[in-house]
Chain length 107, copies 2
């Protein structure tokens, strides 16, 4: 299910998804949840970089994070995808554009 987004929300979602790393993160998490260090190894990127992308995905509401204690007592941060469905058409863009809050008045 998908509620309708404001123009700013939609712009943020699109900007977030429009990145190869983040697309791969979504793809990896679609197979199942994972914690950041393992995910970084799986994707072959550095952990700080992955954390940056995860933060953006979470800010856009596309993934969720949950702390969990492993069997040996370590705190792991598990990420999972949030089910979303966004349909883009000229009309849906036009509708969203009406609620954009970027200040006008530029030349």
């Amino acid at each position: 299910m998908e509620t309708s987004h404001s123009g700013d929300e939609l712009a943020r979602i699109l900007a977030t998804l429009a990145n190869p790393h983040r697309m791969r993160v979504i793809a990896a998490l679609a197979h199942g949840r994972n914690y950041v260090s393992a995910l970084a190894r799986e994707l072959g990127i550095s952990r700080p970089l992955l954390q940056l992308h995860l933060a953006k995905l979470e800010a856009a509401g596309l993934v969720t994070a949950a702390f969990e204690l492993s069997a040996d007592g370590k705190a792991m941060k598990y990420y999972d995808t949030v089910p979303f469905a966004v349909t883009l058409t000229p009309q849906s863009i036009a509708l969203a554009a009406r609620t954009l809050t970027t200040e006008e008045g530029n030349n």
Copy 2:
């Protein structure tokens, strides 16, 4: 109708749509085609800036351009939206991510 996109195509489409100015351009053109100078006035942005955004929209295949002679013989460049429909879900992202061509092997 919408054919399925490669990961790179999808990324480009999303990056292109994820911009307030370009969303407004799509919205304006959804009401009807227009030429760039008039469109710039309508949107309240400078013509060079609009041309930049139109070029990106055209490169992403979201709008088309056509030259046309006005009644008084001036060459006008008319832009129009291309009907598109892209649905975004974790699964569709995952599918597209498999065809990304960004070189891997970074740390």
